[in-house]
Symmetry: C2
Subunit: 261 residues, 2 copies
DNA sequence: TATCAAGGGTAACCTATGTAAATGCGCTGT
DNA sequence: ACAGCGCATTTACATAGGTTACCCTTGATA
């Protein structure tokens, strides 16, 4: 872990938020300031270990990370993926609830917003508060989908469904092409995500390849989904749970989104 | 669904919150007011159907409900249980994310807090805002545990683990004895929660009975866990994810819970 | 009293997925 | 060039859990 100064002019968070909220110039600046200090982690390093009673928020600038939990028998369950542009960690919970950890899957750069600053930022900038709210709601939607995936789908559907979700999420931050992206996951990671064994992930991946659903180059780790519609159909994938349609106006009432049906 | 006037003097929400937050007298009163209007639902009725773009919050006064999702092939996955004292629905998401539904499992009484009132209440009453924050964090911890349960445990462990979680959550609101409670769930509901078939739930339940882990009277629907420690051990249950230890002071800084290690 | 539906229980059989073990390939370090 | 490691791949075999089908009890309704 080292200190850097991040100075990208086209900020990924500004870009992401702007797609659904009209940010004021001042809010732009706040975000730019927040992302000045960055921390780098190497592949395999823990960013947060068992929650550490740390309720700071983190902005993931680049790289992939996972939130995971270890079970008594030593197994690992991956709870969720953190991709560029994601906010995480802001438990805001004063209590020690879940004790999960966050680990870098690739080299990663994050910006930390100390817990004591969060309340202040939210109070003074409606739209940034909205951003947190939205991030939480989105995270919950993703967790919900993961539960459905684990509870009600077979291996083939689980894998295809996950690959589609990742494609879709990466596209939202311009990290994926029309149907392909860089997938830095070993089969072991996939297994720990989907509640399967490594061997069965391998089998299922082969089947997806044989069915001409995907192409995966083990060298470059580039994944291509050959027929998004067919795979969506086959795995029951419905991308609407990630959609974020309308740009709401900036007035608080409308922001709650109650009036208009 | 009918309108009633709820007028319990010992309010379940006051009781629940008081156990970990020092409420002001004024806050007591706000809660009492919020819980004046109540709505009743019968077993099987939908309380929220596919999110309905409704971001109101609901307080569950009495009864059991489930949050669930239907998959394309007609199957149902139950995402979470809502028990007396729980807050739900406050998506606060202006976007249509997850489209899950909430349904009453028993006759249920809820109090509704319209979306347009939530912001106002949170602004003027720090501790009530805290209550929402806490409810969200808790819900996420429960979802996380559910993911681990589905991904990394076998049928026996899943069932035992769930029964322990319910015991624990009910105890927190005085709805369970030391080791027994009223369990209004059919085997079908259990199956849809745990990603199992009905038949296998039946088999597994029998096994738990044979192992003298539980007693379940199908007439009264009373469940007794005969040896909580043994069952916890056998199913990898660790109740800490639900614990809510210290009463934080009421000042905002402390509320974030950052300073004290 | 007869009927019906919902839920629990059980048995026979089938299959998706797990486990164990061995092979190969492509890195990295020496 | 070689050893060694991480990861993907494949085969053979074992088993947890799914499917189908049927019966029983109970309680509601006619």
């Amino acid at each position: 872990m080292s200190e850097n100064s991040g100075s990208t002019s086209t900020n990924i968070f500004v870009a992401k938020l702007s797609s659904y909220i009209d940010l004021s110039i001042e809010e732009h600046q706040v975000i730019e300031e927040l992302t000045q200090n960055s921390m780098a982690f190497d592949e395999g390093q823990d960013i947060i270990f068992e929650s550490e009673k740390n309720s700071s928020a983190y902005l993931l600038q680049s790289g992939w990370a996972i939130r995971y939990k270890i079970v008594p028998d030593g197994g690992r369950q991956i709870i969720s993926y953190l991709l560029p542009g994601d906010i995480f960690g802001f438990r805001e919970s004063l209590f020690e609830l879940s004790d999960d950890s966050v680990q870098a899957l690739t080299p990663v750069i994050v910006h930390c917003i100390p817990a004591e600053n969060i309340a202040e930022i939210c109070d003074s900038h409606t739209n940034l508060s909205l951003a947190f709210t939205w991030a939480r709601a989105r995270e919950q939607a993703i967790l919900t989908e993961h539960i459905v995936r684990l509870g009600r789908r077979n291996a083939y559907e689980r894998l295809g469904h996950l690959l589609l979700e990742l494609l879709h999420r990466l596209q939202l931050v311009e990290k994926a092409g029309n149907s392909d992206y860089f997938l830095p996951l070993t089969q072991e990671v996939l297994a720990d995500t989907l509640g399967l064994s490594i061997v069965h992930v391998n089998r299922t991946l082969r089947k997806l390849r044989n069915d001409l659903m995907i192409e995966l180059d083990p060298k470059t780790r580039r994944l291509r989904i050959l027929d998004v519609d067919a795979l969506s159909e086959a795995t029951g994938y419905d991308q609407s749970f990630l959609d974020q349609n309308e740009k709401p106006s900036r007035s608080p009432q409308d922001a709650i989104g109650f009036e208009e049906k």
